[in-house]
């Protein structure tokens, strides 16, 4: 690395590779620059202006997520000028919609009083579903921003609640554009975009239709990207507020062989939400509609939990040993009576490559036929 590639951040020198942004250099070196609209893996839009930093010689503040680090650049990440802009930006965002989590300058000790006051904020009787899991709230607390100076505007667009997966609450949208980036640059579905202009801006799907009438495939990438309570999984919402203990369990998605890493969000031994694991492959946080929303079978009373054997037209519960013995005995008989080519095996994409390999080995070696195929070919 050439010695020219040195940047000074908060008084200390750091080396950088050409092309790295100020934010990336800072992150690498443990300097915490807060972000809101910045979405890893997508091109920076520089729209929220939370990550602004002061660069010596620059006329205005610079969005660190978008600005490349430059040789001998002198950057201050928490100077009074930066803090002033950051705090006012947060105040403006809190006043941009129904962000009642901070209860508009409430100063009370009692949790009940706090909740009651938060509910008093017009049109929203419930506490925000993202409460406690909201980037805006975190930042407002970090920078001690409360607001009663600026009045939120009247709610312009009604809540969209007409599909089974995603609830869109525009009154809580801060127009950071993360969902748009997630949809267009990460999933490349190009289903949503900015619509209208200025203070009337709205995230729209195909000429401002409901998601279900648009090109949306309900992968839920946008829900995971949403830093606030504007995009919420409907099942999560129906599960009610989660003030009691919840747990995150990391696991591998069982739907197909890709092996997406996901977190099951669990309360009372029941899954109420699934999110992708952002810092691990192969999916790096992305999931499909099945992985993200198709989990209600887990606790379904109809779900099969043991093998069933049909006897005299009725199904009865059986042990695995018993069931497998029966299958192997019957296959053996068919092979003996009609030859191995009378048997065929069809594999599923829900199992892994290794399992698929085993299936063809079983078909060819154990049964003795080449009748093996896979659902992906259908």
């Amino acid at each position: 690395m050439s010695s020219e590639n040195i940047i000074v951040i908060d008084g200390k020198e750091y080396a950088f590779s050409p092309g790295e942004t100020i934010l990336e250099v800072a992150e690498k070196n443990g300097i915490d620059i807060p972000t809101l609209c910045y979405l890893k893996g997508a091109s920076p839009t520089g729209s929220c202006r939370i990550c602004v930093v002061e660069v010596e010689g620059a006329r205005a503040l610079v969005a660190s997520c978008a600005a490349p680090a430059g040789a001998n650049m002198v950057v201050r990440t928490e100077s009074p000028r930066v803090l002033k802009a950051r705090r006012l930006n947060l105040e403006l965002l809190l006043a941009s919609g129904q962000h009642n989590c901070l209860a508009q300058d409430m100063d009370v000790d009692s949790w009940t009083d706090f909740q009651l006051s938060a509910m008093g904020v017009k049109e929203h009787e419930d506490l925000c579903p993202a409460y406690g899991n909201c980037k805006l709230q975190d930042l407002a607390i970090r920078y001690q921003v409360k607001t009663n100076r600026f009045q939120p505007p009247d709610t312009r667009y009604p809540i969209e609640n007409v599909n089974p997966f995603i609830v869109r609450d525009f009154s809580r949208c801060i127009l950071c554009g993360r969902c748009v980036q997630a949809c267009n640059e990460i999933q490349v579905n190009n289903a949503i975009s900015f619509g209208y202009r200025g203070a009337e801006s709205k995230i729209v799907a195909r000429g401002d239709l409901a998601l279900k009438d648009s090109d949306c495939v309900f992968c839920g990438e946008c829900v995971q990207a949403c830093p606030v309570g504007a995009l919420i999984s409907k099942q999560d919402l129906l599960a009610g507020p989660k003030h009691d203990e919840t747990m995150m369990v990391r696991t591998t998605c069982a739907y197909c062989g890709v092996g997406c890493q996901l977190y099951l969000h669990v309360r009372d031994n029941k899954v109420f939400k699934v999110t992708g694991v952002e810092d691990a492959g192969p999916n790096f946080g992305s999931l499909c509609v099945k992985g993200r929303f198709g989990y209600d079978f887990i606790n379904d009373p109809e779900r099969l939990t043991t093998p069933l054997i049909r006897e005299n037209g009725n199904l009865r519960e059986a042990s695995w040993d018993e069931a497998l013995d029966l299958v192997s005995e019957r296959f053996g008989r068919i092979k003996e009576d009609s030859g191995p080519d009378s048997i065929g095996v069809l594999c599923s994409a829900r199992i892994t490559n290794e399992d698929n390999y085993l299936a063809q080995k079983f078909t060819r070696a154990a049964i003795g036929t080449n009748n093996i195929d896979h659902c992906a070919r259908l």
């Binding site: 839009t45 520089g46 729209s47 006043a95």
Partner: protein
């Protein structure tokens, strides 16, 4: 009583005087053009071809048209063109004033086989019509300027981004492009030089922000016209991520003459840091409204009072607004400021693209700031927080103040919002949006204070702060208000002061605007 009568007499006398002057005028000999200050004090470079038929290329050619393009294409290397531009000292006429030669040099040195030359004809400042006039009256000058720019940077494709609200400009540009193509001045192998340049028009759909360079390029690409952070700058990654030069209409209109007459000739006009001339759209309460082209360094006073003829009778000059929604106003105190980029910025305004709105003492500066903030709020693309949310609150506060509901602390909040929006907004629109508020606060803070603390609008323009009552002392009993009132809310009889019935009054301001003795408050 007697005082009022004498006032009425005065008005009658004034009328007689006016008539006499009119008569005298009729007897006068017609002066030479250059003896009329409106013409004599101007220097025409950009507007030199005014009066030719813009739909006939031959008329443009007869005025030395396309000579510069021929010189650039046949005799000069790109480096020589750039050197000439740098010598001329021409700076971007869109308002920011970036040296044009330098911009071309960056694009020239930028690596890439495909490059673009763009013309920003998305003029949108309220009250500004300089580019429109050039586009409509002299379209070939822009074409020629773009050909020269294309040669300088090595581009073979250009776009003119013209707002759709200028249909005549678009029509004439189209005629100009087809005539130039027919003459072999556009297209392949221009002048047999081997140089190709194709030009197309792209119509903007009416968003002010598309005058911002990155938003303009997004728009041409067919995307939503929203700005993006810079760097990368367009000279490195512009339209379709290719090196791109974008200049304003007036900038291009200067180029042929710089190449034709030489950079030194151009640098001889203007001031140390601002060379050449600038076209202003002089408007507002000034006698001569229209386009004015003056050498840089001419004082505002010369432009407004000598060329513009000053403020019409009975009204007093108050301030001049420069640069539209991104600009600021200059009070009478600084009326001798010369127009160059640095001096104008020093007094709190900007050179801007050339809007110059003269305001008299009947203009309420708070209301004026509210107007521009309304414009900015309306035209904000909605991408970045400070501009989208901040300007909304600034507008709300200004509206509150003009409604008479201003509170102590409002000015502080306005200043705080302004400072952060200027410092943290993403693009030029947001970063300059608070300027009209800041500059009126700088020069006319007392008016804000009068609105907030005394619930009074000194200029009598904010209906909510007016009583709509007649000051019987001041009333000259002329009855004009009675005659003009659209709702018959005013009663008046000869030799009696007028009376306003507040139940019928709709606060339309007609009486106040027409009262000759300023008697309604």
């Amino acid at each position: 009583m007697s005082e009022n009568n004498s006032k009425a007499e005065e008005i009658v006398e004034e009328k007689a005087e006016e008539e006499e002057q009119e008569k005298k005028k009729e007897e006068k000999v017609i002066p030479y053009l250059e003896d009329v200050p409106f013409f004599g004090l101007q220097k025409l470079i950009v507007l030199k071809n005014k009066g030719i038929d813009p739909e006939l290329i031959d008329e443009y050619i007869a005025k030395d048209g396309y000579q510069a393009a021929a010189k650039a294409l046949l005799e000069m290397t790109p480096e020589e063109i750039i050197a000439e531009m740098k010598t001329s000292g021409l700076r971007g006429r869109g308002g920011a004033g970036f040296p044009t030669g330098l911009k071309w040099e960056f694009a020239n040195k930028s690596e890439g086989d495909i490059k673009y030359v763009l013309c920003n004809a998305d003029e949108g400042d309220p009250g500004a019509f300089m580019d429109r006039s050039v586009l409509e009256a002299d379209p070939h000058a822009i074409l020629e300027g773009m050909i020269i720019a294309a040669k300088a940077v090595g581009a073979h494709q250009g776009y003119i981004y013209c707002r759709a609200e200028y249909p005549l400009a678009i029509k004439r540009l189209n005629i100009a492009i087809s005539q130039a193509t027919e003459y072999g001045l556009l297209g392949n192998d221009i002048f047999g030089s081997g140089f190709d340049f194709h030009l197309e028009i792209y119509q903007g759909a009416g968003a002010f922000v598309c005058g911002e360079e990155t938003a303009l390029m997004h728009s041409i690409e067919g995307k939503r016209g929203m700005p993006r952070p810079r760097p990368p700058f367009p000279a490195h990654q512009g339209l379709w991520k290719k090196p791109t030069v974008l200049n304003n209409v007036e900038t291009y209109a200067n180029v042929p003459q710089i190449i034709f007459n030489g950079g030194k000739w151009y640098a001889g006009i203007g001031t140390e840091t601002s060379k050449g001339t600038k076209v202003f759209a002089l408007t507002g309460t000034v006698k001569n409204i229209g386009l004015v082209e003056v050498p840089m360094g001419t004082s505002l006073r010369t432009i407004i009072f000598d060329i513009g003829g000053g403020v019409p009778k009975k009204k007093k000059f108050k301030a001049v607004q420069l640069g539209g929604p991104s600009g600021g106003c200059v009070s009478e105190e600084f009326i001798d400021t010369p127009v160059d980029y640095e001096s104008i910025a020093k007094v709190g305004a900007i050179m801007g693209s050339g809007g110059m709105i003269v305001m008299d003492n009947q203009t309420c500066m708070v209301d004026m700031a509210r107007f521009f903030m309304d414009f900015v709020q309306d035209e904000s693309c909605g991408k970045c927080t400070p501009c989208r949310e901040g300007t909304r609150h600034m507008l709300q506060i200004l509206e509150k103040i003009t409604r008479g509901e201003g509170e102590p602390g409002d000015i502080d909040t306005l200043e705080e919002l302004s400072e952060v929006i200027k410092d943290a907004a993403l693009c030029g629109l947001g970063q300059t949006g608070p300027n009209p508020v800041l500059s009126t606060l700088q020069y006319f803070r007392d008016e804000y204070e009068a609105h907030i603390f005394e619930k009074r609008c000194p200029a009598k323009r904010c209906p909510a702060l007016l009583e709509f009552e007649v000051d019987e002392e001041k009333c000259i009993k002329c009855g004009i208000c009675f005659k003009r009132c659209p709702t018959e809310a005013i009663t008046w009889e000869k030799k009696q002061p007028a009376k306003i019935d507040k139940d019928k009054c709709i606060k339309c301001m007609t009486c106040i605007t027409n009262c000759p003795s300023d008697a309604i408050f």
